[in-house]
Amino acid sequence: MGRIVGGIGLSHVPSVGVAYDRGKQQDPAWKPLFDAYVPVREWLARLAPDVAIVVYNDHGADFTFDKYPTFAVGAAERYGIADEGFGTRALPEVRGDAEFSWHLCESLVYDGFDLTICQELNVEHGFLVPMNLCFDHSPRDWAVATVPLEVNVLQHPLPTASRCYQLGRAIRRAVVACERDLKVVIMGTGGMSHQLQGKRFGHIDEAFDQEFLDRIERDPAGLAAMTHQELMERAGAEAVELIMWLVMRGAMSDTVRRVHRHYYAPMATGMGLVTFEDA
């Protein structure tokens, strides 16, 4: 039987990938962020997950508006590294677990989630920054297999926060129904408060972000009732990515034990981190 051993909510800001590639982990501007992940990586090493389900959004690297799925799941043994417009980062291809992906897809579709299933998928910072923060890689491989789960948070109508939360619930049922003895972590990525367009560029609301970190732990159903309008009004247009954290939270038990929590907002995005285990 499969088991969800941990959930992680975290932000996927592209500049973190640049800082990582340039070895700026000890740079004063970046040290607070990278240091927060030291205990998270130790925790993950103890949990020793077989698979990480990474709930992320693409930013126009491999999904474009000619065809734009609401929810898309990778079902491949390897995922390539996308060129986002800056050249391809020197990272190894990401290992998949196609068998588990297909199990997940079958379970989710029969549970009412009509997914797009991708046998070729190149991943980018939305997926890779969380991976860099949480897992090691060698020149050839990563410390964990993955299932990329891509969510439309760009082109409205987006899936509702509530639907994302329900998707998480369905993922939990799918993992438990898996016959293999798999240890799974699930990562909900994105946000927190930020706006990247118009005169409101640079908007950050730390009070909102801290409240979100409180409520993702204790009141996820309340958060799932928020509309996109409310999220965008308070936390900025691009903060609507936070609906992806609710997929992660939905996959955990109703009551959770929080293991880590951190917040850092140096520039134009509130970068949050929270980790949970089932209570």
Binding site: D83, G85, Q195, Q197, E233, M267
Partner: protein
Amino acid sequence: MTNKQIDPSRPIPDTTVFDGRLSQRGYRLNKLCASLTTPQNRAAFKAHEDAYMMRFALLEEEKELVRRRDFAGLIKAGLNIYLMIKLGACTGHSLYRMGAQMRGESYEAFLATRKIKDAV
């Protein structure tokens, strides 16, 4: 419609909601920017910008927004912010430089509003 997520009667100040209508309007611009994800296409854009824009059948007003690097105007014309970052990368405008222009201030003035301006 039930369960409406965006309330048109309460526009969010200084914000463009990238919805289907806007995505349709900005389709050519987004398609051009999405193509800037190979070194060959970036080189072609840099070498002959106007010829490259012809390939994507941009309207004259869209070409003019690109030529002027009018980032606020491009957003209003339906270019998605994340696709615009690819145009910025190809033309030497970082996200924060584009942001400062959209705010109507210098890059240095924008950086002065940030907590830790070295975290770029």
